[in-house]
């Protein structure tokens, strides 16, 4: 796992003044055969959804009916990302996220049902499980016989996931972990049979000291897992969200994911890869809303004209289209990075999630606004879009936390390099001159001389702007590092602005 830290990252490199354009340029195209398959999968979902998914009814009854879940299982939608050798269909990240987009076009709760299962619920096993563990559970997860949930958050530990209190103690005689604690806000909590659980364990360090570390475990319902009632929520009401309670649950030693005390890394890696799925779902939701809004503003007449003829309305519609275009571009650029293997996509995934979910909320709000009074009525879909959209900037890392993550990871990369340069940091003012000259010329070289060559002529200006701002991001990163040193960690406003800059550059 150490290895992943040295993998190339487009965004970390950009913070450092390197534009690794071959990672993102030209825009990746999906393999033809893969695309053909994907089209069939999408067609199946569309047909199924048209006949069987009634989003406003599911919202009202606060659940996805079992028959619908069973049909989705039957069709294979729970085994999309599981390799064929384990009974799944092994589709790529691009195809998977595209499926989530299609589901997101129709119903946010169902996108979460399928997404929480595959993007995070079973992802720990998929990424870090042993062959035996995979053979034991993946086939059942692929058919949906077992639905998976990801259990990290607790009443007193959300953004600060390291602060969890759920605990495991090893019982060597029985060969089991005794698990105790309560998880909160668990998607699929009420319907899952397979739980990826993160718990504190006392680990003896090499120096003999005992320390609390996080261990990741696979727990199944039959081991004695209890769930609370369905949470009453603002939106995505049909999605199962419950507390999950472990009361002296005995989990066999062999159900550990990865190594003892290395569970935090598992938790974070799972989220790194899972997040982009939320971006896909958000793009889907935005597309449907835009379609509905366009139909509405073309039909609705005020001042003897359809609304679409008013400039202010056109402005809103085009802004939503721009938002979607940008979010979609980021999302599938990121999935292509993931599919290419061997790159660090953690920042791109976080940025896609942050951007796409922020825009989703903005789009939902604007679409409701264009609908006017009926936008506020439950007879129309708009209010449900607003309610269902809202969650996305909260879970799998709040968008605020993700921005801090993006900035700090980018700065860290640079910070480590600068440490090597060493002395310059000790004399910030003098050092700054040296470094920034170096930085500017270096970035200029990298950016303008040999990089991004064959852009379409209509993009020449955008290219120049991009290069200029990329350079500024880099220079600013060095400047704040030198100004604040370690205390940059407390400077959240700066971090947020750096992250926003990176998001827009991406």
């Amino acid at each position: 796992m150490k290895k992943s830290e040295t993998l190339p990252s487009f965004s970390k490199s950009l913070f450092s003044g390197y534009l690794v354009d071959e990672m993102v340029f030209p825009y990746p195209e999906q393999d033809k055969e893969e695309k053909e398959n994907l089209d069939l999968i999408l067609e199946t979902f569309r047909k199924f959804a048209e006949d069987n998914i009634d989003s406003s009814k599911f919202d009202e009854i606060c659940e996805v009916p079992t028959t619908v879940i069973d049909d989705l299982k039957e069709l294979g939608f729970f085994g999309l990302v599981i390799p064929e050798e384990y009974g799944g269909f092994g589709i790529t990240s691009t195809s998977y996220v595209r499926v989530l987009e299609e589901v997101g076009k129709v119903d946010g709760s169902i996108a979460l049902l399928i997404g929480a299962h595959q993007s995070i619920g079973l992802k720990g096993l998929l990424l870090f499980g042993t062959k035996e563990q995979k053979e034991k559970y993946l086939p059942k997860l692929a058919t949906g016989e077992m639905i998976a949930a990801y259990c990290l958050t607790e009443p007193s530990a959300g953004s600060d996931a390291g602060g969890i209190k759920t605990r495991v103690v090893r019982d060597k005689k029985k060969g089991v972990y005794i698990l105790n604690g309560t998880k909160m806000w668990i998607t699929n909590g009420g319907i899952a049979d397979f739980f990826t659980v993160f718990a504190k364990e006392e680990i003896e360090m090499p120096d003999g000291e005992k320390k609390d570390k996080i261990t990741a475990l696979m727990v199944t319902r039959d081991m004695g897992v209890a769930s609370s009632k369905q949470e009453k929520k603002l939106g995505i009401r049909a999605s199962s969200t419950t507390e999950v309670i472990f009361d002296n649950v005995e989990v066999p030693f062999e159900n550990i994911i990865g190594e003892r005390g290395k569970g935090f890394k598992v938790a974070m890696e799972v989220l790194n890869s899972g997040r982009v799925g939320l971006a896909g779902g958000s793009v889907g939701g935005s597309k449907t809303m835009l379609k509905q809004a366009i139909t509405h503003v073309k039909e609705r007449q005020q001042f003897n004209r359809p609304l679409i003829e008013f400039e202010a309305i056109k402005d809103k519609i085009s802004q939503i289209a721009i938002n979607i275009y940008a979010a979609e571009s980021m999302t599938y650029l990121t999935t292509a990075l993931i599919d290419s293997g061997k790159v660090d996509y953690s920042l791109e995934s976080a940025m896609s999630k942050t951007y796409a979910t922020d825009r989703l909320w903005e789009n939902a709000n604007e679409v409701l606004q264009m609908a006017g009074g009926i936008g506020y009525s439950q007879e129309y879909p708009y209010e449900q879009w607003v309610r269902d959209s809202r969650i996305n900037s909260i879970f799998e890392g709040t968008n605020e936390i993700l921005r801090l993550f993006v900035a700090l990871s980018g700065i860290q990369e640079r910070g480590e390099y600068l440490k090597k340069i060493g002395k310059a940091l000790k004399d910030p003012i003098k050092g700054f001159g040296v470094l920034s000259d170096y930085a500017v010329s270096y970035v200029k070289d990298r950016l303008t001389k040999e990089r991004i060559q064959d852009v379409h002529s209509s993009l020449t200006e955008s290219k120049a702007l991009f290069e200029n701002w990329a350079k500024n991001l880099h220079i600013t990163t060095e400047r704040v590092l030198m100004k604040y040193g370690k205390s940059i960690i407390q400077k959240q406003i700066i971090q947020t602005r750096l992250a926003d800059a990176m998001i827009y550059l991406y």
Partner: protein, 250 residues
């Protein structure tokens, strides 16, 4: 039992049709193509027979390269083989299509040949009956129910005011109507299995064209609707307008 299903790829029912510059064809550039919905019924019926009789189901289609995506849809539903009769563009004369299909069908010795009752693009509803003539086997058209016992085929057809029960012996041609079944959705399993099936390609020289399209035009634009009012009060005004403006009652 050996089963064949002849299918056609057609524009999506929601596609906005744009007439091509030659005014004799439609502009295909922005059209999303689908498997003809009546053919989906035929595929579904074939798959039911396949499940009952453990047989192969061969999809046969004539058209340009783009049609393979719809053939894949049929394979993904569960068909086992596919033959693509490659041509540059789909003929407008159903006789040409049927003659080419008949040539391929003859080679396959099929017991049951299923087709949709018509394609939703040109709505000719000709292929089934012409095939019956060319292959000299009975055709039962527009069926809503099917039962095959041994070599006896019993099919029901909806006719004006009732149901007609028809009997024939294998081999038989059947064209399918809505109500016959509910086509299944292609499952992921089916889609992945279809990936491994090679679509056989055939080149056939087509017979002469006897039908020519002279011109295609859009249907005349419907005048805008008018809401006269609501409830009983609106009825007198409605009647007046129907009489005086629309002139549909006197």
């Amino acid at each position: 039992m050996n089963i064949a299903v002849c299918v056609k790829q057609v524009p999506d029912t929601e596609a906005r049709i744009k007439i091509g510059e030659d005014k004799k064809s439609i502009d295909e550039s922005e059209i999303n193509f689908i498997l003809n919905p009546y053919d989906e019924l035929a595929v579904e019926e074939a798959l039911k027979l396949k499940e009952a009789h453990e047989s192969d189901v061969t999809i046969i289609s004539l058209g340009p390269d783009r049609i393979t995506s719809s053939m894949r849809s049929a394979l993904a539903m569960g068909a086992t083989k596919a033959i693509h009769i490659k041509i540059d563009s789909t003929p407008v004369d159903p006789m040409i299509t049927a003659t080419a299909l008949a040539q391929v069908l003859k080679e396959g010795n099929y017991d049951v040949i299923l087709l949709g009752k018509q394609a939703i693009d040109d709505d000719n509803a000709q292929i089934g009956p012409i095939l019956s003539e060319l292959l000299d086997i009975p055709a039962i058209n527009v069926i809503t129910k099917l039962d095959i016992q041994g070599d006896v085929v019993i099919a029901e057809r909806q006719i004006e005011g009732g149901v007609e029960k028809t009997e024939a012996k294998l081999p038989v041609i059947l064209t399918t109507q809505r109500g016959l079944n509910e086509p299944r959705y292609a499952s992921l399993k089916g889609i992945m299995a279809a990936k491994k099936i090679q679509i056989e390609e055939k080149n056939i020289s087509l017979t002469d064209n006897k039908i020519e399209i002279v011109e295609i035009n859009n249907p005349p634009q419907k005048p805008e609707g008018k809401i006269v009012g609501e409830g009983a009060e609106a009825v007198p005004e409605l009647i007046r307008l129907l009489k005086e403006e629309a002139k549909v009652i006197s």
